[in-house]
């Protein structure tokens, strides 16, 4: 029965293509793009099929590697949450790689083979992080994805290697702190399996090494998730990397790290357990709130589209982590829904900025003008959809995750975080509407309003339009069929909710 093999098949697909791409690339360099798209496509099909299978049967699949039963062996746990996240990240990667066809010829000519091989390794790391049920295995996948993302970020503008190096130093320290935390937990529980350790932790919870481990793990994963005071690497990395790298890493990388925080805080420790010892949820809630406002304000100050989107990522990851910190069902739904919504919105926005860089040679907001709406009507329509969704207007997906997060803050009577959500929505509106204003309204200061130039329509090609259109329509559909998705998320709650 293939259903029970799904958790292993998804990473194996990526390993296979990470090897196939260099081998076949030596022989035929042109088809590396096709192979990359094929690899992510197969993985997306597997994860979609597994997700459907899981919804129908409702059974968590635990795949034991080599037949070794945990806690001795390593297992992959394919439960509702993991299946959902795997489907989201694989589908986004599939669409982003389709979009990269034209960009790869301009931004990294001659490096296509290495680029697609490394991006397969990146996706291997992310899928492994999501699926694994073993804390040390998680560290290994964390480092696989991190090392690949350093390499992908270094391919880009002149400054890219330096920002990648800074990310490498900060990211590796984060990974090492996480490993130290795992070591502390191992010394008191003697196991590395998440489910096994969850059963043992109540017996040793008062021990000082458990508290030290919790702090080390949250800080270590927080670096990867760009939780507010640890976000320093993010803006430069996303800005100077090639458009495809930012579109691949920005929607997926920080989401997967936030998912690890879900696993550690809600599934491994459990909220009641840690809040007895240390007000962890309150503290990360405060940092998330500050991060949301800081990211939004910094985004307003930027004049470059990609840098603005990077700061906006810092702000949006705050929403997801705020959902964890609320630790109630509404907060959980809001956070999981926001992982899906933000992955689509951010990927779409970065793809638009990539298309603009390809067509116009820059993505400076100051140079945007109203000729764009005639030149690129569909690209700008997609951009507008994503922007309105980011602000959170009702028919689109972005509204619903904010709605559930707001309900969560009300349930906890946490009025400060509620205010943070509302203020940041206004700030989002400020930084997106100034672009929409430039594109869709006539500039009153323009001198030659009489002699209206005839602007040729110069829409991007099909390979770029298709992913953007799918995501824009997806945002609308997720918004409309929101109730169904929330019903599915209801089945993913950790024990104790």
């Amino acid at each position: 029965m293939i259903g029970s093999e799904i958790p292993a098949l998804i990473p194996v697909t990526y390993i296979l293509f990470a090897i196939l791409i260099p081998v076949i690339g030596l022989w035929k360099r042109e088809i590396t793009w096709h192979l990359g798209v094929l690899g992510t496509g197969i993985a997306t099909l597997f994860s979609a099929w597994g997700f459907m299978h899981l919804i129908q049967t409702g059974e968590t699949i635990r795949y034991f590697f080599g037949g070794w039963v945990p806690p001795i062996g390593i297992e992959f746990v394919y439960d509702g949450l993991a299946a959902f996240i795997v489907l989201v990240i694989n589908a986004i990667a599939f669409l982003v790689l389709i979009h990269s066809k034209e960009i790869s010829k301009v931004e990294f000519p001659g490096k296509k083979m290495a680029y697609y091989a490394v991006s397969m390794l990146l996706m291997l790391g992310f899928n492994g992080m999501v699926l694994t049920g073993d804390l040390f295995n998680l560290y290994v996948f964390l480092e696989i994805s991190s090392l690949s993302s350093y390499a992908l970020i270094a391919i880009g503008e002149k400054r890219a290697p330096y920002s990648a190096f800074r990310y490498l130093i900060i990211g590796t320290v984060g990974g090492s702190l996480y490993l130290l935390g795992v070591g502390f937990l191992y010394t008191v529980t003697g196991t590395l399996n998440i489910i096994d350790m969850h059963d043992m932790l109540p017996m040793v919870i008062g021990h000082s090494s458990v508290i030290a481990a919790l702090i080390l793990m949250i800080v270590g994963v927080g670096v990867k998730a760009a939780l507010f005071p640890l976000h320093g690497w993010l803006p430069d990395s996303y800005t100077f990397a090639s458009s495809t790298s930012s579109a691949l890493i920005a929607p997926i990388g920080t989401k997967v790290a936030a998912y690890i925080l879900f696993r550690v805080v809600l599934f491994l420790f459990g909220v009641e357990l840690i809040d007895d010892q240390l007000p962890v949820t309150t503290i990360i809630g405060i940092f998330a709130g500050i991060g949301i406002l800081y990211g939004s304000i910094m985004a307003i100050a930027q004049s470059e589209l990609k840098k603005m989107l990077a700061y906006s990522s810092v702000s949006q990851i705050g929403y997801i982590i705020m959902g964890i910190s609320l630790a109630n069902p509404f907060g959980f739904i809001g956070a999981v829904l926001h992982i899906l919504n933000h992955a689509m919105m951010k990927a779409l926005l970065f793809l638009v900025s990539g298309s603009m860089r390809l067509k116009e040679g820059h993505s400076l907001i100051t140079k945007f003008d109203n000729s764009y709406r005639k030149k690129y009507p569909w690209t700008m329509a997609a951009f507008t959809t994503a922007a309105i969704s980011m602000v959170g207007l009702p028919p689109l997906a972005g509204f619903f995750s904010k709605w559930y997060l707001a309900l969560g803050t009300i349930e906890n009577s946490n009025w400060i975080l509620l205010a943070v959500i509302l203020i940041s929505s206004l700030l989002n509106a400020v930084y997106f509407f100034r672009i929409l204003e430039k594109v869709y309204l006539n500039n009153p200061d323009a001198e030659s309003s009489e002699e209206t130039e005839v602007v040729e329509r110069d829409e991007v090609g099909f390979s770029m339009m298709f992913p953007m259109a799918v995501m824009a329509i997806g945002l609308l559909l997720v918004g409309i069929f929101n109730a169904y998705i929330v019903n599915v998320i209801f089945t993913m709650f950790p024990a104790g909710f």
């Binding site: 290994v140 350093y150 390499a151 400054r159 290697p161 490498l168 130093i169 590796t172 490993l179």
Partner: protein, 122 residues
């Protein structure tokens, strides 16, 4: 008090190594020295795992006739050591990527000093 220090000396060394590594990454201006600091930091974590699994007077976890399996206290736990083999490999890969990036930075800017680099970037 002395017991507290002497009894945990392996952990004190771990802390000292972590501190040296952090110092190197934060204070040193040369990017290669930062990379060395990173490596020392990782070594600190690896030594922590190795010393955790160390046990006085115990032997390797292989069943011997003289030692019955029921006396688990006589055996060392080999798992942290094997985990660290993987962590060492990860560390080597990280160093490789770091040096590849440094070569790229040097080719583009002709310096590895952070202050000069930031001046040239501006």
């Amino acid at each position: 008090m002395l017991d507290f220090f002497m009894g945990h000396y392996a952990y004190w060394f771990t802390i000292i190594l972590l501190a040296i590594g952090l110092y190197g990454m934060l204070i040193k201006k040369n990017l290669v020295k930062k990379t060395i600091g990173l490596s020392i930091f990782q070594a600190g974590v690896i030594l922590f795992f190795v010393s955790v699994a160390m046990k006085d007077g115990a032997t390797v976890p292989v069943k011997a006739d003289g030692l019955p399996v029921s006396e688990v206290a006589n055996y060392m736990n080999a798992l942290p050591h094997t985990l660290m083999l993987t962590a060492i490999v990860v560390g080597v890969a990280t160093l490789g990527v770091a040096f590849a990036l440094l070569i790229n930075i040097y080719n583009r800017y002709g310096t590895l000093n952070e202050e000069e680099l930031l001046d040239k970037i501006q």
